[in-house]
């Protein structure tokens, strides 16, 4: 037997083999219905397998293009989501403003807490609204659930304020809507409690009364709930001090309202 070692001869052998086998299959196919059906089914399976493989290969090679399309779509969806988030933010701010007891004397600016300290005696708060948003120094920082602090320094885009958790801040508060007015300040113990000072000795304070802003300062709007009274005690034998449990959770604080009294300068001028 002669050897066919060269690649060319090998190709020729393969080609002749394929041609002869195809010829044999063709004859077989045309000579019997059963074989015809069987070969058709076989060829269909082979074709399906081939086209399936080609399709999978195409899918694989077009992954980069698909990825680009998906990245573009992702970006569009992200933009749309941002738009909805902005709208929701505006709606939330509006709801926040609507929930504050109204007063024609005050203008309100919704803001978000950027930074806040709670673990020193002189805690601060930084808000994301500044002079370009209309914020002015000595504006009140409030929420519908209580007093947060007071704006002290205003930057173009941010405001720095002292929070209620600062022993320099004193808020004029009232026990109930028609009760006694007394200064409220932080007791320095924890973020949930404050004290009402200088309550006359003879004035009995019941536990569970609501403490509200009095409206007797030029800073804070009236009737903002601050907390509820707890126990009271006599200090220096002359006045009572009432413990107040604050409504506001400073640890979870995120959205606030900056309230500016439009008549503040006039009131302060008259008070001098």
């Amino acid at each position: 037997m002669q050897q066919n070692g060269t690649p060319k001869a090998g190709l020729a052998v393969a080609a002749v083999f394929i041609v002869l086998e195809i010829a044999a299959l063709s004859m077989l196919k045309s000579s019997s219905v059963l074989q015809n059906i069987w070969l058709n089914r076989f060829s269909h399976n082979v074709m399906a397998l081939t086209w399936g493989g080609v399709s999978r290969l195409k899918d694989y090679t077009s992954l980069r293009h698909q990825n680009d399309i998906l990245a573009g779509r992702n970006f569009e969806l992200y933009k749309e989501l941002s738009r909805y988030q902005d709208e929701e933010e505006q709606a939330r701010s509006q709801a926040l403003l609507d929930s504050v007891p109204g007063s024609r004397r005050f203008s309100f600016i919704p803001a978000e807490v950027t930074a806040m300290g709670t673990n020193t005696r002189h805690n601060y708060i930084i808000l994301n609204k500044g002079s370009q948003d209309g914020v002015t120094p000595n504006s009140a920082i409030i929420t519908p659930h209580g007093v947060v602090g007071i704006v002290q320094i205003v930057d173009k885009r941010y405001s720095y304020g002292l929070s209620l958790l600062n022993d320099k801040i004193v808020v004029s508060a009232r026990i109930g809507r028609e009760g006694i007015v007394a200064p409220l300040s932080w007791d320095g113990k924890n973020t949930k409690s404050a004290v009402l000072k200088n309550i006359p000795f003879h004035h009995k304070v019941a536990e569970g009364d609501t403490v509200l802003t009095s409206g007797m300062s030029s800073l804070y709007p009236p009737d903002i709930p601050i907390g509820i009274t707890m126990g009271s005690r006599i200090v220096d034998g002359a006045s009572n001090v009432v413990d107040v449990d604050l409504f506001l959770d400073f640890a979870a604080l995120r959205y606030v309202i900056i309230a500016e009294n439009k008549d503040r300068e006039t009131i302060e001028e008259l008070a001098r």
């Binding site: 002669q2 052998v13 086998e21 299959l25 077989l28 000579s31 069987w38």
Partner: protein, 167 residues
């Protein structure tokens, strides 16, 4: 002279095969076929290409004059021709094959001849039975048919190999 003898026996065996196909209808259970050995014992100067063509024509003639399916024998016999080189290498070894020596019974020995006949018959019957049943016969039935055909045909192929090229 040896080639003429080979050709004569080749033709006689092909005719015998056709007659057997036409008059002994046992193909449903097993097949008896010596065509693979006719192909693997072809003279060494016939290369694989020509061997495949000879196998195809032989298969066509057998099918044409038999009651079987046209193309079936060719389909099974051409791969046997393609496998001639590895089978010759198995029978003769690389050195004698390189010298272009013909496969003979004496030179190769009965065991190698029998082994190559077994391989050739197995290849032939696997393809033949597979294409003949066309998916209508179960796997084990087809395997049994292949097994019986190989078992019965291989000894006959060895005898034919001795007849074709005794020395």
């Amino acid at each position: 002279m040896r080639d003429i003898r080979y050709i004569v026996i080749y033709v006689i065996l092909v005719i015998a095969h056709i007659i057997m196909n036409n008059f002994f209808d046992l193909a449903r259970y097993f097949l008896i076929c010596v065509l693979p050995v006719l192909i693997i014992m072809l003279p060494s100067r016939v290369n694989v290409l020509w061997a495949m063509v000879i196998a195809f024509v032989t298969g066509f003639v057998v099918d044409f004059f038999s009651t079987g399916l046209l193309g079936l024998t060719s389909l099974a016999l051409v791969p046997v021709a393609l496998a001639i080189q590895p089978l010759t290498l198995l029978i003769l070894g690389g050195e004698q094959m390189a010298r272009g020596e013909d496969v003979t019974f004496t030179r190769a020995g009965i065991s190698r001849i029998a082994l190559s006949c077994l391989f050739a018959c197995s290849l032939y019957f696997i393809i033949y039975v597979w294409a003949d049943s066309a998916g209508t016969v179960g796997f084990w039935s087809a395997l049994l048919r292949i097994f019986l055909s190989v078992v019965l045909s291989t000894p006959l192929c060895v005898v034919v190999a001795k007849l074709l090229r005794p020395l």
